[in-house]
Amino acid sequence: MSRSCVRKGNGSAPRWLAALLLGTSALAQTGSYPQAGCRLYIRVVNRYGRVLPYALDHFMNAKGESDLLPRFTGLVGDDLPPGHYRYQLSRRDAPVPQLQITGEVDLSAPEQWLTVVPTGSVAIDRGGRVGAIDLGGAAPRKPIAGRIRPAPDSAMPTWVRCQALFTKDYIEVPVTADGSFSVPGGVSGAYLLIVMQGEHVLQTQEASFGLPNSPAAVDIVLPSRNGGDGR
């Protein structure tokens, strides 16, 4: 069965094509996806995964000919034909243009998930003027000290890949022979720390950085192997 969304037939299609489409549609209805089209889930969160109050303004196809907003219930769209779309989201509690999010998405799979993380902070005065708040001048936070226990075999290159959970950001930092590593203080958000050695993952651990109560240090304990010393 095709992995793409199922296109609906139209009145001008030849009979054999209509029959084929009907068959495909019937197959789709008994398969892994219930409707003739894509389902899209949109989730707007901050860098820590907290849901933000956004609503969909429009969901236009690439040519800008049709707005499929009526096919959405909240931020879940159903029966969306495959293709390229442009969307716009607005923050419900502060519907100013500067907080709108615009983006593009390609739909091809029966069900797709889209996590959107807005950036930047604004303030609005009583007259409705909106301004950008920039936070760059604060003294940089101290690096977060990390330790892997027991220390991985130093004969193999070992590093920690810090992968943001809600954005595409990541950084990679080396692990020293005693198992220590350091995450730059400027990193903020929820991350998955992936301890890598050669081609393999030794351990993973979730950590949040940049919050007032974020830990100043991170300990990662490697799983024990055959009940041994953790290696």
Partner: protein, 192 residues
């Protein structure tokens, strides 16, 4: 008050210039007194503003960055030269801040520049979109190079021209960050 003479600046980007001597730029007539943090910041900003307006030659990379955002070197230069620079801590206008945690708080412009800022850290600058009004943190510039100050002015100028941090980050291919330092860093790298 008499401003100290500005340090010599080159006309080409990327060349080293000494940082403005913070804290020693104001004379009261009875010997050098330490300037207030805002006086020092204003002096640094005005020096940077003057350089961008009158002498700075934008590199090709810098111009490409402006074009990617949707503006031009001449517009940025004009906006930078027109920015009205204010002490953020003295503006008690009420504002509403939609916070990154999904809540909204009512506060003042001045509160943004304190340790009690609802954003968890004092703002460096606050600039109204499509405007020349720009508010700054007293003390900014004391720990930064002059090129950092100038890059921050370029950053605020882009806001003055109407561009949001999200638009700038997207245009420059900058990974999203909680702070907007990355934009200033990128502009500094591309333009100085």
């Amino acid at each position: 008050m008499t401003a100290a003479p500005a340090p010599q600046v080159p006309v080409a980007p990327g060349r080293y210039r000494s940082r403005l001597p913070m804290g020693g730029g104001v004379s009261t007539g009875s010997g050098p007194d330490p300037a207030s943090p805002w006086d020092s910041t204003l002096a640094a900003l005005q020096t940077g503003q003057s350089f961008i307006k009158n002498k700075m030659v934008f590199s090709d990379d810098c111009l490409a960055a402006f074009a990617a955002v949707g503006t031009s070197g001449s517009k940025v230069r004009s906006e930078a030269g027109s920015l009205q620079l204010f002490n953020g801590t003295t503006n008690n206008d009420p504002i509403t801040v939609p916070l990154p945690d999904g809540t909204t708080v009512k506060t003042t412009v001045a509160a943004l520049f304190t340790n009690q800022s609802p954003l968890g850290q004092p703002a460096t600058a606050f600039t109204y979109f499509n405007s020349t009004s720009s508010y700054w943190l007293p003390g900014f510039g004391a720990q930064q190079s002059l090129s950092t100050v100038e890059a921050q002015i370029l950053h605020e100028s882009l806001h003055g021209l109407g561009f949001t941090d999200g638009q700038i980050e997207s245009a420059l291919g900058i990974a999203s960050t909680n702070t907007t330092n990355a934009i200033t860093d990128r502009l500094q790298k591309l333009c100085f």
